[in-house]
């Protein structure tokens, strides 16, 4: 559908920075609730947020716990794309949560250039 809005949100901060790890999930949650297609792209240490068992350990003061946001985004149709070399360098390619799709740069470019807008955290 030509007028369907799409937001791509790139996540580069991991569990060591709970606030900047959580904010992109807050934005993604508001977007999927607003009927906007959402693609979250995880690069660098952001990849660790979609490693099994990690989201449950991330919580920033005054923010919703990250794991619950992640579940809601997934339930409402958000997609999770993960940078291939980033997961390989961390040895976590076999430890990703259900629904996380490993991809390479051209896929990110395709998603971003076809989106209504994109955010980078």
């Amino acid at each position: 559908m030509a007028d369907q809005e799409k937001l791509v949100i790139m996540v580069t901060h991991g569990p060591d920075d709970p606030e900047l790890a959580t904010i992109p999930f807050v934005m993604a949650g508001a977007a999927v609730a607003s009927d906007v297609d959402v693609v979250m792209g995880f690069q660098g240490d952001g990849c660790r947020l979609v490693q099994r068992g990690v989201a449950e350990t991330v919580s920033a003061p005054e923010f919703a716990p990250l794991a619950g946001l992640l579940d809601s985004i997934r339930e409402l149709g958000g997609q999770f794309l993960v940078c291939s070399p980033c997961v390989k360098s961390r040895g976590i390619e076999d430890e990703l949560i259900d629904g996380a799709e490993v991809c390479a740069a051209a896929r990110f470019v395709a998603e971003i250039t076809s989106a209504t807008n994109s955010l980078v955290y």
Partner: protein, 88 residues
């Protein structure tokens, strides 16, 4: 989007579903509203309870974007009751 009912009229509204999101941080109340909206027929009224004072502003913006009707907000003891009619 501004509220469409007066507080007096709102007090007489019987919601079809109540969503208790008290204690949830942004965007929890919005996400709970979105999920609940899918479980009631078009035309139904959903009543959201939230202790986050920003929720009524957030829900107003959301209604304006997605096309639901914000009926209004009532203050309760430590939380607010936000009434939304499903329009589509």
């Amino acid at each position: 989007m501004s509220a469409t009912l007066s507080e007096t009229d709102l007090a007489g509204v019987a919601a079809d579903k109540v969503v208790d999101a008290r204690g949830a941080a942004c965007p929890g109340p919005l996400l709970e509203t979105k999920k609940a909206m899918g479980s009631v027929p078009v035309g139904s009224v959903l009543e959201l309870w939230s202790s986050d004072p920003q929720t009524k502003v957030d829900i107003a913006a959301w209604c304006g974007k997605v096309g639901h009707e914000l009926l209004g907000t009532l203050s309760a003891d430590g939380y607010e009751r936000v009434f939304v009619r499903r329009m589509k």
